[in-house]
């Protein structure tokens, strides 16, 4: 992926009006399921402000399907984190030795052409 590709990506409007929501939740003044679904990953990433957090938390408390969505995302993220690879011992030793060589002025790196 290059920066050029990113620039080529057009922007379009995101959401249909909330009135198109068929959400079963979201009474007057409450968050709809559509809105909650848009926010849910920001919520699990702790990336929304306090007001939005409070509103979605209220929705999740009242809406088991959306709460299940949130739980699934949390499980996925936790699972991905468990996949985090550990530096293999031999690699760690070689990198440590390389750093020692750097400091001792012994490191050599041959650029391959």
């Amino acid at each position: 992926m290059s920066a050029k590709d990113a620039r080529d990506e057009p922007e379009i409007p995101l959401l249909p009006p909330l009135s198109e929501s068929s959400g079963i939740c979201g009474g007057p003044g409450q968050m709809s399921c559509v809105e909650a679904n848009e926010l849910i990953q920001f919520y699990v990433d702790n990336f929304i402000d306090a007001d939005a957090t409070a509103r979605i938390a209220e929705h999740l408390g009242d809406c088991p399907p959306c709460e299940l969505e949130m739980v699934v995302y949390k499980r996925i993220i936790a699972s991905l984190e468990r996949c985090r690879p550990h530096v293999p011992e031999d690699t760690a030793q070689r990198l440590q030795r390389f750093c020692e060589d750097l400091r001792a002025g012994r490191a050599q790196y041959t650029v391959e052409d």
Binding site: M1, S2, A6, E9, E11, I12, P13, L14, L15, P16, E20, S21, S22, G23, I24, C33, V34, E35, N37, E38, L39, Q41, F42, D45, N46, F47, I48, D49, A50, D51, A52, R55, P65, L68, E69, V72, Y73, I76, I77, S79, L80, E81, R82, C83, R84, P85, H86, V87, P88, T91, A92, L95, F98, C99, L102, R103, A107, Y109, V111, D113
Partner: protein, 279 residues
């Protein structure tokens, strides 16, 4: 570069560093031409007297008085080697190449250590890593066709604590890993950098050289697709109830209430980036 306040005090996934401040270091000793790196910078010297340029405001530097280049390297670079290796593995998808990439990046970092102001060492090192990888691409393209080994690297069962994990988790992890491997490269790399490797959105944006909004958009779509792939594997909640248009090419941060998360770097959280490779 605007402020990147995120309203996210713990910053776990927030914008941790103004990475545009991380200047690519010079690599004056390398034999190959390196147009991405600043050729005008001085040849860094490592000695007892660290030279901090006049253009570096002292209050912003974390370099301590009397610290040598080696001291700075030990204090700020060495703790990041593990992160560098994980990111290198995500970029190269091959153990041997990842180790090679980390070594070359460490060499460049060491040679440039006296030009480093000490702020945001991870962002600085990831910038070096990214530029180094780009140059490796240029001169070693045939080797990129090498078969990726990454799937083996990331099999969760190889984790030391795997035996203690519940079988249910192991099955779930296997399904998630399989789903991850099926994602298109652009989506998979974002998930790997953020959720697997533990980078912030901003760090991932810098490594991938895409706007922050693109990282969030891809990350959310990718997770959504992983979620969808878990359903036939026997996990997940099935079809979400009346959840509008999320995966139909209009995902992303259109949500009201996102607290300036986009930071304005090439698009806010609301700036929807449509990607045509979605299916």
């Amino acid at each position: 570069m605007p402020s990147n306040g995120t309203g996210n005090p713990d910053g776990e996934r927030g914008v941790a560093a103004d990475v545009s401040l991380a200047v690519a270091p010079p690599a004056p000793h390398l034999d190959d031409a390196d147009p991405d790196l600043d050729p005008s910078a001085d040849d860094p010297t490592v000695g007892d007297d660290p030279v901090v340029g006049d253009d570096v405001p002292p209050p912003a530097s974390s370099i301590q008085e009397g610290e040598t280049g080696d001291d700075v390297f030990n204090r700020l670079v060495l703790p990041e080697v593990d992160v560098m290796w994980r990111v290198a593995l995500s970029l190269t998808r091959n153990r041997a190449d990842a180790e090679d990439l980390v070594q070359e990046s460490l060499l460049r970092a060491y040679r440039a250590i006296d030009t480093f102001d000490g702020r945001y060492p991870r962002a600085w090192l990831l910038t070096i890593l990214r530029n180094t990888e780009r140059n490796r691409h240029r001169r070693r393209r045939p080797e990129l066709l090498r078969e990726p080994e990454i799937a083996e690297e990331r099999v969760p069962a190889t984790e030391p604590d795997a035996v203690e994990r519940r079988a249910e988790d192991a099955e779930f992890d296997a399904a998630v890993t399989a789903a991850l491997e099926q994602l298109p490269e652009n989506f998979r790399s974002v998930v790997e950098l953020v959720d697997v490797d533990g980078l912030t959105y901003q760090e991932a944006a810098d490594v991938l050289e895409v706007p922050l909004g693109t990282v969030m958009s891809r990350l959310h779509r990718a997770r959504r697709r992983i979620r969808d792939m878990l359903v036939p594997a026997g996990f997940g909640p099935g079809a979400p109830h009346d959840h509008g248009p999320d995966d139909s090419g209009s995902e992303g941060g259109g949500a009201t209430g996102t607290s300036g998360a986009g930071g304005g770097r090439g698009g806010s959280a609301r700036g929807v980036v449509v990607e045509d490779e979605s299916r």
